[in-house]
Subunit: 509 residues, 2 copies
């Protein structure tokens, strides 16, 4: 069947008020797109509702532009670590060329190049904001011009509306119109002075990216005692050390208590921002009336402020209350991605909005699972689809330099989960494969082994360019490969993956 013909036919159908399709997907980010595409591949009639751009946060304001801003500084740092190559890096990074490339990789903030992937599969795209009406399998779509229509799914509705940056209730912050991941990744110039609130992956990555793009002063503020607080402790410590070596000021264990943006001046078109930090002694002891110029703690003045302290589910217009779910919360789902608390088994949620793991790849994974749940697909062993990975092996890479590439549980999390684990670590830079790649390669590689089963439950690899090393650990965890068997998986010499050999030797094999 010609995809265009099919798409046209379905499009005609969906445009009728109350048109019925098999599956309605709300949100055409990576998760929603994959639900729609996989259901359509299985022969279902699918309509996808998108109020912004097909491709979603990741494609335009997330992973793609952020990694595009990071990569030039990263590869130049790699070259500078290699004598002989360092001699060739005599010029300066060109931020304008980086922004131009970013614009191209985000398709000029147009989804023209992404829509055909859906329509070629016969998926009907409806532009507008989707809302659950309260009637089972009903979705009301409001277009930009205010036009409303109701779509009815015969099988399922899948919510994939994603998340947006949380703006914490810090006095003056919202009024200062801060950068979030969207404005930062869409930047057209490099602020001379940048303050970043939040030392998780987004804040850390963008702090270093802008420093390397040319920001003279970057201050990163994190309330926890360390960066990347959910990773192994050494990860945050190593990133902090690298950031300070890069000239970034890292302020840990403190938080912004007030933000004020002043009038624009010639150097700062949007006006400089003053961020007052809680003093180290006791930020919470300070009364509300102490705010203002004399709020107490140190003040950081910057040309721009980026807020990256967490994510809020994008459920504002979704009508969750109409189906009995708490508004403003992540949608709790079971291992079939079925929303818990909604009768009738028709409402699913995938991606950031389900709160399981706010990572593009996990959203896409959930999307594949939910499509198989909806279509009733079983695997070669006859097993129905269910979400295995979220409870077992969530990989994540923080694209700082050094990178932090991890999967599964940290040692602490494993112990807190009651597992009898033994963890071993080696220096990532200690293998010959690291030595030949450059000078001064640091980092740590660590595995966490469940002693009762002698299988990995977690692994972390820090160091430059460890991003491709984590998939081996993901497979080892997901397949529950005993360490005795991993012993026969020989890492190639001289690759950095030889840390696997050192780790297993350290473990006692």
């Amino acid at each position: 069947m010609a995809p265009d013909t099919q798409a046209d036919t379905r499009a005609q159908g969906a445009r009728a008020q109350g048109a019925q399709v098999d599956v309605i997907v709300i949100g055409a980010g990576p998760a929603g797109e994959n639900v729609a595409g996989r259901c359509a591949d299985a022969g279902l009639a699918v309509t996808i509702v998108e109020r912004e751009l097909v491709g979603g946060e990741c494609s335009y304001w997330g992973c793609i532009p952020s990694k595009t801003l990071i990569r030039p500084g990263e590869v130049l740092a790699a070259a500078r670590r290699v004598p002989g190559a360092a001699a060739a890096v005599t010029g300066a990074l060109d931020p304008a060329a980086v922004f131009t490339r970013r614009d191209r990789l985000v398709g000029g903030f147009s989804d023209d190049s992404q829509v055909p992937w859906l329509t070629d599969k016969g998926v009907t795209l409806v532009r507008g904001t989707g809302r659950l009406t309260g009637r089972p399998r009903h979705v009301e779509v409001t277009a930009a011009d205010g036009d409303r229509r109701v779509l009815i799914a015969s099988r399922a509705v899948v919510v994939a509306t994603g998340s947006r940056a949380t703006v914490p209730p810090i006095p003056g912050l919202a009024e200062a119109d801060p950068w979030d991941n969207r404005s930062a990744t869409a930047a057209r110039s490099v602020p001379r002075r940048l303050v970043v609130l939040g030392g998780g992956a987004v804040g850390a990555e963008l702090a270093q990216a802008f420093r390397r793009l040319g920001s003279a002063e970057v201050t990163l503020v994190e309330g926890s005692p360390r960066l990347l607080a959910r990773e192994e402790e050494f990860a945050g410590e190593q990133v902090r050390a690298a950031f300070e070596a890069d000239g970034i000021t890292v302020r840990l264990g403190t938080r912004a208590v007030e933000v004020r943006r002043s009038r624009p001046d010639s150097a700062t078109p949007r006006g400089p921002v003053t961020v007052t930090l809680a003093d180290a002694a006791g930020p919470d002891a300070r009364g509300d009336d102490a705010r203002g110029d004399d709020a107490g703690g140190e003040a950081v003045v910057a040309d721009e402020i980026l807020v990256a302290v967490g994510r809020t589910p994008a459920t504002g217009d979704l009508g969750l209350a109409a189906v009995g779910l708490p508004p403003g919360k992540f949608i709790e789902v079971d291992d079939r991605l079925l929303a818990v608390g909604v009768d009738g088994g028709w409402l699913y949620a995938v991606g950031d909005v389900c709160g399981r793991a706010l990572l593009t790849h996990m959203g896409k994974y959930q999307a594949r699972i939910v499509a198989d749940v909806i279509t009733g697909r079983r695997d070669a062993a006859g097993e129905p689809a269910r979400d295995v990975a979220d409870g077992l092996a969530i990989p994540r890479v923080t694209f700082t330099d050094p990178q932090v590439s991890a999967v599964g549980l940290t040692e602490r999390a494993a112990r807190e989960a009651g597992l009898a684990v033994r963890a071993v670590s080696v220096a990532t830079g200690g293998v010959a494969g690291a030595s030949v790649r450059g000078e001064g390669i640091t980092g740590t590689s660590k595995i966490v082994v469940d002693e009762s089963r002698r299988v990995l439950v977690g692994a972390t690899f820090t160091g430059p360019d460890t991003q491709e090393m984590v998939h081996a650990a993901t497979i080892a965890i997901v397949a529950a490969v005993p360490v005795e068997r991993l012993w026969h998986a020989v890492p190639s010499f001289p690759t950095v993956s030889e840390v696997w050999l050192r780790l297993l030797e350290e473990y006692g094999l």
Copy 2:
């Protein structure tokens, strides 16, 4: 026990004529070192015999210096693929700095930094050439000064003498004193014109390394119809295309029929070399008497010639005939690394000399296995040690740009082995993770699946910096993870490892 005390004691013992130890290892390259170290860790008295440098071919004239020569060109090529970073690469690679770094990484061709690893473990190092006398477990060692002594092992003798470059019987080649891997990796200057015989891993890597270090003319001559003939066909094709784009002349399906080095001149201190190639029409039709200036085929004139057409086992002085083994051949071993055809179960061979897989990491793996065989160590399941990996999953990375990173069987080899396989391929550059790393990223990722068991038996990843991607496939093959389970091993976005997702989708999951 203090290692130094132990070492001193053992050293005293071994110096006596006919001193008895548990294990004698002949050859202190990576394989021999690891046999010795692991046996010593298990409490055995070990003597290791080395006639050159502790650390062996790999450390001084193999992997380490070759990758050190390759890395600067590789990382600069990576930077040039990234707009914004490319702008900073305005200078030229500095070969002198590269050679200085090479000298440091090979320890100035001294093993002073490698010996303590052995002695700290209590291993006795005896410098000299080891020879099997014919009496079981007897090894005669001849020192550089001609002094001879006989060592007797109570348990085992392990041969780990490695291999050396094969110099094929091409008229004039030996007389031309060609470069081999040793002289090439130890180079102190970059020849203006270089001709390389052999398009396997060594020849291909060094051809590109010298081109990027500044050789104006590099000609690579390979008798097969493609480079890297044992890898998937696309690998050699992609490397050829990249080489030609780098300005390397690649001559496939032909061979050198004569080599002649002329008198030195001011530009070429060792004298220019003229290499006559068989003409494409029929090299073997030409008679011996046709050699000489008018030998027929095209002549390539270069300042240096590198021969890299294969390896010969380093068994010349080993006395193989005395124990009933054919001299000049690789030593055939069983899965305990025991030499086949030698009675009494006392002679083992590991590393290149056993001919199983001429790769440092496989030699080291065999070393660990043989040490466990000799010490009788069993794993947690009570299984005795045996060489599993050599027959199942040999990983190898060719450090060209693009890299060729592979493990297990090629599709062709799997079919020739009688397996019912299905192979699927995707473009390495087709995933978002490749797009953000640079422009014009090419390459292919391919898995070979044994359909009867639905497990991987081979995988190949070509493209820039795919070196760390192969270990995931090695684990999948060694652990026989069904593709249905690999489906739940989610690759992190945006890493290049997302080719795993595309491959499994292409496979039909």
